[in-house]
């Protein structure tokens, strides 16, 4: 079979002959028409071979023409595993075959089939794991030889991918006759209906049917399209049916997550390949595919056909072939004395040359005289597998029914219904009736309609085809995985008797088709080989996805929530390098030169005045008569007697005594506190408060106000001078507003909470103003402080300043086990309180000798800062690690904090730090803080 085979109109109702489409396949130029699929255009150009098989690299051609098998998988650009039989043909598309070494027509691995005796089932399990580590060598090699398409690992996530949610009372999967009838019946009963169909047009395959059927399909599609209660998602593939009717549906660049109250499955059935020698040769096709080739795309299937089908289908197929000018040279029914035992391939196995018929014995092996019938296409019908796998995802089973010689769906989930061919209503009229009934039943299950009565009985059944076990082999049970009857026999001989075990040993049913073309044959053969009855046999476990799902589809649209402070735009415009902290973005430093900028900013705070954006600090309002009692019971410090207008440090431990967060508690009134937390600890602290009070039942209310109050720290010797230039109803002098005070009032017309804190060790006013006022206040402060040398100060400089003052950062200078004593913060733990979170654990820990202590250190003048995490040594023994280290602009040398053994922690001792390059540096322990031990600067 070669050369163009396009039929004249009226054949080819989907193609537009006035719109030629150029494309390439394997580098060769072809032409098709608008409305073609890539596969139909290739077939029209006489090309049947579209892929090579997984293991033996045998030529493969279309089977289902519905995207349900892997035989037409191609690579287009960077997209692998696209089914050419459902891929719409587009101008200049360039496709290539997959899994070939060389080219599709000259695959250097085409001879692997000759080595089949050396690749029996279970070969991989025995051959590549010795000696130890061998698999790491073999695995990539095998993957290259036996893989599918090539994944472009360096390709960035494509734009436009997303996910969407949809809801419906009734979801119908499948837009054929049954599906559309179900859709309209449910909608007529008042249900909102969502119809999911994988075709380019509703009823697609049936458009190739007889005129009456095609006409009915078009009428239904029109009615569906104009029904306001119906939403159609097409072309789209339902790939998973999960609990409570949650459906995953792929559509172009979107993954739909659909929640339905009832589901109608109308996915149809798939013709099964005959099992005989060389049954994988291109040119063996089901009648439904031939019907589509001729009528939808105007493709003539061949010159001479052998038809394998029972009556009356056989006669219908003969008439169909007549339409295309293809001669049916032989028509054989399944119950004839002889059956198809072998296909004689054309050279290179690129097509069919003859069909060989012979009698078979009880073991399925041919015997007696053989009849060879020359032909170039073999058309089959009469043996189908219901496409019920989706229902199996949701708990149903496909069980073998000997009366139908096939599998039937049973055990459907509540409010799930099957209609059409998937439920063995194979005749179009029966399928339509069953669809209508299913739609009514779904509506009735939702209370929208009356009981439609019993479901119509299904009359469909399979022909009792034999599985031929040819002595020369290559009788494929699973074409996806290149598994033959001999492979299943090997598995059984090895002692595997259960279908699930045979599946895993042979990989039958584990390819892209997920058993859609192999489950029936493998069940028949396995049961025969194990001498077990077929009746009631279940197909192996079906799991999502029903069809291959690109990773990009699962990834969908990326969401990266960002929180921005009110001054974010200002920071970026001022040249700040922004750094993330949880979801927040904070300015690290301003300017191009990192170290110089940090040092300059730190000096500015020590010498003049600077502004730090502290809006990211967590904030929680506590209100109620028990607010102080609650804080007293949660935090380590004492709060019962904290005066109104005062701020106290707040250290929070978990029940193990480990530090989890810190901040300050500002008492605004007898029954109101404003508590701050670390930037990343705000949500956790809020949850802890809610959890604790769920147990303690105190009269206190919690409101997270992190965003409500933006924070600006004005710090430096000139901070008060700057603030006094703004209209403010709060007295800012040291006597009226001393260190660790808190005041509420207005500043330049904005409501404000002002706290005098000392994190950076300088005179500081922490201004907390409403989010919507903060950006203008920041700008005003910058403007008003120009002559004072005011400048913005980033987080990095703030970290240096706090280090000079010996203040810790939770999570950096502490780890998940650090106690207050280890962090040199025993002063922040009240010994008089009867209880606080972690108290019991700390009391127990205090009975044991300390094992480590956070200690200040300095490096020699010439040294540079070492990274956090560097090891601290005592000789060759590791005794701790560096937690913070930076060059101090105020001191002129490197300082840091290290968690050391207690014996090393006394000031004036030396210890060794091993830096990231392995150099050993001698450090000297220093008493904390490094500057201003009398707190004179911050208390100004």
């Amino acid at each position: 079979m070669s050369g163009p085979s396009r039929l004249p109109a009226p054949h080819g109702r989907l193609i537009d002959r006035g719109k030629p489409v150029r494309f390439t396949f394997e580098g060769r130029a072809y032409e098709g028409f608008a409305g073609d699929t890539l596969a139909s255009a290739l077939l029209a150009n006489g090309r049947w071979v579209m892929s090579r098989s997984f293991k033996y690299h045998r030529p493969r051609g279309p089977w289902s023409l519905r995207g349900l098998d892997a035989n037409t998988y191609v690579q287009v650009g960077e997209q692998p595993n696209l089914a050419a039989c459902t891929l719409p043909l587009t101008e200049n598309v360039s496709a290539r075959a997959q899994n070939v070494l060389g080219s599709l027509d000259r695959d250097l691995l085409a001879g692997l089939g000759w080595l089949k005796p050396f690749f029996p089932a279970g070969f991989y399990y025995r051959s590549f794991f010795r000696p130890k580590g061998a698999w790491q060598f073999w695995e990539p090699l095998i993957a290259r030889l036996a893989g599918l398409g090539r994944v472009a690992r360096a390709t960035p996530h494509p734009a436009g991918q997303d996910k969407a949610y949809a809801h419906a009372q009734v979801a119908v999967i499948g837009g054929g006759l049954a599906g559309m009838e179900a859709t309209l019946a449910a909608a007529e009963a008042g249900a909102s209906v969502l119809l999911i169909d994988d075709g380019m047009r509703l009823g697609g395959d049936l458009l190739a049917g007889d005129a009456a059927v095609a006409s009915r399909v078009e009428a239904l599609a029109e009615a569906v399209a104009h029904n306001p209660a119906v939403q159609v998602i097409a072309p789209a593939q339902c790939v998973g049916w999960y609990a409570d009717h949650w459906l995953a549906v792929m559509q172009a660049k979107r993954l739909w997550k659909i929640r339905a109250e009832a589901v109608v499955l109308a996915t149809g059935a798939l013709e099964q390949p005959p099992v005989c020698r060389n049954n994988d040769v291109p040119g063996i096709v089901p009648a439904e595919a031939v019907r589509k080739m001729i009528r939808l795309w105007g493709v003539r299937p061949g010159d001479q056909a052998v038809v394998l089908a029972p009556d009356p289908e056989a006669e219908a197929i003969r008439a169909l072939l007549d339409e295309a000018g293809t001669t049916a040279v032989a028509v054989r029914a399944p119950d004839a004395g002889q059956t198809l035992v072998e296909v004689i391939p054309a050279p290179g196995k690129r097509g069919v040359r003859a069909a060989v018929f012979q009698a078979v014995d009880d073991q399925g092996e041919p015997h007696g005289p053989a009849e060879s019938i020359p032909c170039d296409v073999i058309v089959t019908a009469g043996t189908v597998q219901p496409l019920g796998q989706l229902a199996c995802h949701a708990g149903a089973q496909l069980a073998y029914d000997p009366a139908r010689h096939g599998f039937v769906l049973q055990g459907l989930a509540p409010r799930a219904f099957a209609a059409g061919a998937v439920a063995w209503h194979l005749d179009p009229h029966a399928a339509a009736a069953s669809g209508k009934h299913a739609g009514q039943a779904a509506a009735q299950a939702l209370g929208l309609a009356a009981d439609p009565g019993p479901a119509p009985a299904a009359a469909g059944m399979n022909a009792p085809w034999r599985v031929v076990r040819h002595p020369k082999g290559m009788d494929f049970i699973d074409v996806d995985e290149d598994q033959t009857s001999a492979d299943l026999a090997t598995a059984v001989a090895e002692g595997f008797t259960h279908l699930e075990h045979i599946k895993r040993y042979t990989t039958t049913g584990m390819g892209p088709s997920q058993g859609r073309t192999s489950a029936l044959a493998s069940a028949r053969l396995a049961r025969h080989l194990t001498e077990q009855a077929l009746d009631g046999t279940l197909v192996t476990t079906q799991r999502p996805p029903f069809a291959p799902v690109p990773i990009r589809t699962l990834a969908g649209r990326g969401f990266a929530p960002e929180r921005r402070t009110p001054m974010d735009t200002w920071h970026r415009a001022a040249g700040a390098s922004m750094m993330p902290a949880g979801a927040w973005w904070r300015p690290a430093y301003y300017g191009a030169e990192r170290e110089a900028a940090i040092a300059a900013e730190a000096r500015q705070i020590r010498q003049d005045v600077g502004l730090i954006d502290v809006s990211t600090l967590g904030g929680i309002d506590l209100s109620g008569p028990d607010a102080a009692t609650f804080l007293n019971r949660l935090y380590t410090f004492a709060y019962l007697k904290q005066p109104v207008g005062k701020v106290r440090y707040a250290l929070l431990c978990e029940e193990t005594g480990a530090i989890v967060d810190d901040g300050v508690a500002a008492r605004l009134a007898e029954d109101r506190f404003y508590v701050t937390t670390t930037t990343t600890g705000a949500e956790a602290v809020y949850r802890i408060m809610l959890l604790c009070n769920a147990q303690w039942r105190m009269a206190v209310d919690f409101t997270p106000v992190t965003t409500a109050w933006a924070g600006i720290t004005v710090a430096g010797p000139k901070a008060r001078t700057l603030l006094e230039r703004l209209p403010c109803d709060v007295a800012l002098d040291a006597q009226s507003f001393p260190y660790l005070g808190v005041r509420e009032g207005t500043l330049a017309g904005a409501p404000v909470r002002i706290m005098r804190t000392g994190f950076v060790g300088e005179l500081s006013f922490e201004l907390h103003v409403p989010y919507t006022y903060a950006a203008s206040l920041w700008s005003l402060l910058m403007e008003m402080g120009q002559d004072l040398g005011v400048r913005p100060v980033g987080i990095e400089a703030q970290r240096v300043l706090r280090l000079e003052k010996g203040h810790i950062i939770i999570g950096q200078d502490t780890d998940g086990l650090t106690t207050p004593a280890e962090a040199a913060m025993a002063w922040a733990v009240s010994g008089k309180k009867p209880a606080f979170q972690g108290k019991r654990a700390l009391e127990i820990l205090d009975r044991a000798p300390p094992t480590r202590r956070l200690t200040g250190f300095r490096l020699p003048e010439s040294a540079v800062a070492v990274p956090e995490g560097c090891l601290c040594l005592d000789g060759s023994t590791i005794t701790g690690r560096v937690t913070s280290c930076a060059a101090s602009p105020a001191l002129g040398h490197v300082i840091g904090l290290a968690m050391l053994a207690p014996a090393q922690a006394a000031p004036g001792q030396t210890f060794i730090i091993k830096d990231e390059a392995g150099r050993l540096l001698t450090a000297e322990t220093v008493a904390l803080p490094f500057i201003d031990p009398d707190n004179q600067r911050q208390a100004l």
Partner: protein
């Protein structure tokens, strides 16, 4: 030199947005308030929605949305002044950004960001939905032909960006 500051909306530079059949407007400077704690019924009377996740439309055009057994948000109406605490005031004006979405494309746009069914049958007028939108916590209130979207103020720009991208996709 004296200077009185005025509030600025963080979304003023990025809203309004018109795309397809959706319009997104900035309402961050419109009045809104929050109250939580006991005593709401006595304070609000008929303006207290009958149950959580419902809103009532006041005579002055404002809305009061009940987001919990003892918590409400008021939109576009004056805040009542509790004579005693509780209920406690919640600084919603600065905690919560407020975006108003209108147009026939709002429901399909939101379907790409939010798992809740916002069609009219499932979410009728004056329904309050507390859910996740573009992975952040949000409150959605259906107000006739308009939708009020409330979320953490600091996420405001991110939310506008996510909504705008969804308009383009839809």
């Amino acid at each position: 030199m004296t200077r009185t500051l005025l509030p600025q909306s963080p979304l003023g530079e990025v809203l309004p947005v018109q795309g397809g059949d959706v319009r997104l407007s900035d309402a961050c400077l419109r009045p809104r308030w929050g109250l939580k704690g006991a005593g709401l019924a006595a304070l609000l009377g008929d303006d207290l929605p009958a149950r959580p996740n419902l809103a009532v439309r006041r005579g002055d055009g404002g809305l009061i949305a009940r987001i919990g057994a003892t918590e409400v948000i008021g939109l576009a109406c004056p805040a009542p002044s509790p004579l005693q605490n509780p209920p406690w005031t919640v600084p919603r004006t600065d905690m919560t950004c407020w975006i108003v979405a209108t147009g026939g494309g709002v429901v399909p746009m939101m379907a790409t960001l939010c798992a809740v069914d916002l069609c009219e049958a499932a979410t009728p007028d004056l329904t309050v939905v507390q859910t996740s939108v573009a992975t952040i916590a949000a409150i959605i209130i259906r107000d006739g032909e308009a939708w009020h979207l409330l979320a953490d103020m600091a996420y405001g720009r991110y939310l506008v960006q996510a909504l705008t991208q969804s308009i383009v996709k839809v």
